[in-house]
Assembly symmetry: C2
Homo-oligomer: 519 residues x 2
């Protein structure tokens, strides 16, 4: 175990913070609850953005940008919405600063109407949609926005819950309820595919109960992932808003038969919270593990030498490896580049990096440590003996296995195959982990005992808010009503549709839901 | 002239707004001074972002993200800085809303320290740099941030000056004054290359006078472009901040010889204002003209038919053209796609679009108009006669020229050549326009008369703020002290370095500066 990272078994919350610090991903800012996303962390977010943005565009969505500020009166137009967000708002009341007479500054001009810093944009976008939509011909309207969001949170945690965070919010308007329902589910599917294919995070799709719905939605769908401590993380949500916002903002359109109807709208979002999910799904006691598809750097080559005579040979050999992976042109370009002279850094065509660590100020073991803690999927170590033997030591991050590899075998194709395999293994590992900690539970006492060790619990539910409320006794909640008819558990597949008895109330239940503690 | 766009000669400011509206780029929002960037406008911003981001990364910069909110006390730490920005700040004073007893809502919890919505991030980033920089080994630190910015402006204008805007802000820290100077100039060069190569906007590089400097900078460098009304637009700035912010925020490092020194910092930025510059450089009385490199859609194919018998032939012919430009695979994929069925939309490898306009609800002439006003560089019209003759009518947006072209000639290579040529012509045209309206002026009265028609004026300046102040009499200002030794004017090249007399004060002048009215 690395000495700057506590083990997961000793202190899981502290381990999470240690991994972020050692991986140089983010840090707390002087503004309470706000984080600074450092270059290593932001690069992961950029990879998430690129991939999701492509998926949104392929399904006909276009990006736009709406104001950061929302007039206070807008928020109040949808009753459930304002109730959900009123306490989380940051409020701009003044513009300009002037001397306060004591050597400091005080706010100057009071605004006529206070402005809310957007906690989400249904209201300000709803206002625009009302102008943009006149006829059924203007529908569907398929908009996405990449933006920063502010929610005044009391307890914050890097990436998972911060006062300001980055996200995307999709907002769409449709002609029919069916179309809006299809869109809501389609985007949930895209989130689930993205989570599994790119983040290697297996997720359970399902619907939220009424009490867990987005404020103002008719239906909220979610993808729920299991973290390594057995807690659930809500990784993305998709909301069918019905006609609630179109009525509040008057998004009306002329129908095909010359009638007038309110549009059906949806919204859906994922945020920088996903980076917290990545960390808690894959990383180990040595630090960050990143699925290759979101790793900003995929290979770090570390030369090992002691004497000057060795140095030249080893460096030239390491450079040959770099050429084998990236091509001579790219290497020459990087060497001529204006960046750091100590780390030769090359971007592959897909934007991921390969580095050669030439730092004279760090020992090889420090360099191993450095790249390992940053979650780089593949490390290649080359020393004098490797030069002699025409080999290189290849270390894979996910299992820390060392394999002495023929230099001849190492090229771009080899690299892509290694990365694809590591990506697949991480998903498989996370899936197996979740299955092993998913249980059927038929008694409330059993739930109370077992949930202390974490896990997902397939439990019968009578559909009442009273049962949901009772779950708070063991700090649990209904994460979702699963979409799948069967969910794989440690004891095999369990039906979610067979009727039974709610173990909390003793009443009839139409099927099982997922109960867990959550972030 | 299109009837929804007034001509430039009649009302230039209204023409600008008309072009934005007809091009569907942006609109005013219900929040005073904030704009909504519509999908067509945002797509242009995405192309700007992609290209600049690549240039920043190629020169060793990495992206990060810092908080939206800045503690009030931070702003006050650099005296010139706070003076420059105090009046433009939006101030968050409360969190949470509660019922006001009259059916409305009022702000609830008063914050201990007010938060400023960032008008720029030197202070909050300076605070982080102080933590990140310990030794000369940590330098240079080369960070960029893509973010939204708020400045409380009284007079706003879409894209050119809005209360909230999008931008990138580079922030770097260096070991020596020379290195910081080199960085400041390097980024100005990158902005200038980008403006000319990508936006087709010719710019004059130079230094700002003291009174026009960024609040807190030792030197501010700028690129100045001439709009079609002869006014200047400051299109990008790069600031050498010296040790001002490192002293205010204690960014100290251990030097190579074990001493302790303050770092030298820089900052540089361009914003969504560039889109305003694009519009006012290239567009004409028919509407938007976009340089092909930033055009989200580069080709619109419009089929023309009246009878059903014609329809089938023409559509199949139009599809063949689409295949010739984009390849069969791409066309099939787009046809199967889930987007709008009425416009077949294909993304080229570089992310730019090609569309086939199949809308049954619009006449061909309306479609011509539609794509023309959106600034699409190439329109291809195909009717029954073209099908017979194996031809197509190709219309280039920059000159509205129609050329009957052999269908056989139309393929991807043809397209890229056409686009490259149009890109080059737009730059050349803008450059010639600027040269024709750049004049040497040696009398203040002459300046006062001539500037009524717009233009750049090469004028001697004694270096005093008094002369600068006097220029306000004709609503002009010194745009920059040009970097180039000679500037091309309507009367040939004029030296900027030959000494002379300041025509305002009559005092000695070391050389000529650029005087103009500006946005």
């Amino acid at each position: 175990m690395a000495k700057n990272i506590i083990s997961r078994s000793k202190d899981y919350p502290q381990w999470y913070l240690d991994v972020i610090k050692a991986g140089d991903l983010a840090e707390h800012s002087p503004v309470r609850g706000c984080m600074i996303i450092k270059p290593q962390g932001y690069a992961v977010w950029e990879r998430i953005q690129q991939d999701l943005d492509r998926r949104f565009k392929e399904t006909g969505h276009v990006n736009a940008y709406f104001p950061l500020f929302i007039p206070k009166s807008f928020l109040a137009k949808e009753a459930a919405h304002v109730e959900g967000f009123a306490m989380e708002c940051a409020i701009v009341t003044h513009s300009g600063l002037e001397p306060d007479g004591e050597g400091g500054l005080k706010p100057k001009g009071k605004l006529e109407e206070e402005l809310i810093v957007r906690p989400t944009s249904e209201t300000i976008i709803g206002h625009s949609f009302a102008n943009w939509v006149q006829s059924w011909r203007d529908l569907p309207l398929l908009i996405n926005q990449w933006a920063n969001i502010v929610r005044w949170e009391m307890r914050t945690r890097l990436f998972l819950r911060t006062m300001e965070f980055l996200w995307q919010e999709g907002h769409t308007a449709h002609e029919t309820a069916e179309e809006a329902d299809r869109e809501t589910r389609r985007m949930l599917d895209i989130y689930a595919e993205f989570a599994e294919d790119v983040l290697a995070i297996p997720v359970i799709k399902g619907e939220k109960t009424e009490s867990e719905r987005f404020a103002g939605a008719d239906h909220t769908y979610t993808i729920e992932a299991m973290m390594q401590d057995g807690k659930a993380l809500q990784a993305g949500t998709s909301h069918n808003l019905g006609q609630n916002f179109s009525k509040a903002f008057n998004i009306q359109f002329q129908t095909r038969d010359q009638g007038l109807e309110y549009a059906y709208t949806t919204s859906w979002g994922v945020s920088t919270r996903l980076i917290g999910g990545l960390i808690m799904t894959h990383s180990d006691d040595e630090g960050l593990i990143l699925p290759p598809k979101v790793a900003p750097i995929v290979v770090a080559i570390v030369p090992i030498y002691r004497k000057d005579a060795e140095k030249e040979k080893v460096l030239s050999y390491a450079r040959e490896l770099l050429v084998a992976l990236c091509g001579e042109d790219q290497v020459e370009k990087a060497e001529k580049g204006l960046g750091s002279k100590e780390v030769v850094s090359i971007l592959l065509e897909d934007g991921r990096g390969v580095v050669l660590d030439l730092r004279d100020t760090a020992r090889p073991s420090d360099k191993f440590f450095h790249w390992e803690q940053r979650g780089v999927p593949i490390r290649i170590e080359v020393g004098p003996r490797d030069v002699e033997g025409g080999k290189a030591m290849v270390v894979t991050r996910h299992d820390r296995a060392k394999v002495l590899t023929e230099k001849m075998a190492i090229d771009a194709n080899w690299l892509y195959a290694k990365l694809a395999s590591q990506q697949e293994i991480l998903l498989q590992r996370a899936r197996e982990y979740r299955i092993a900690r998913t249980f059927k539970v038929d008694s409330f006492d059993e739930l109370k005992t077992k949930i202390e060790d974490g896990g997902f619990f397939l439990m019968h539910w009578d559909g009442s808010p009273e049962t949901e409320e009772k779950l708070k006794e063991c700090k649990a909640s209904i994460r979702c009503i699963p979409e799948a008819e069967r969910v794989e558990t440690a004891e095999g597949f369990i039906s979610t549709r067979e009727p039974g008895k709610d173990p909390v109330s003793g009443k009839d239940s139409p099927g099982r839901v997922i109960v867990a503690r959550s972030y």
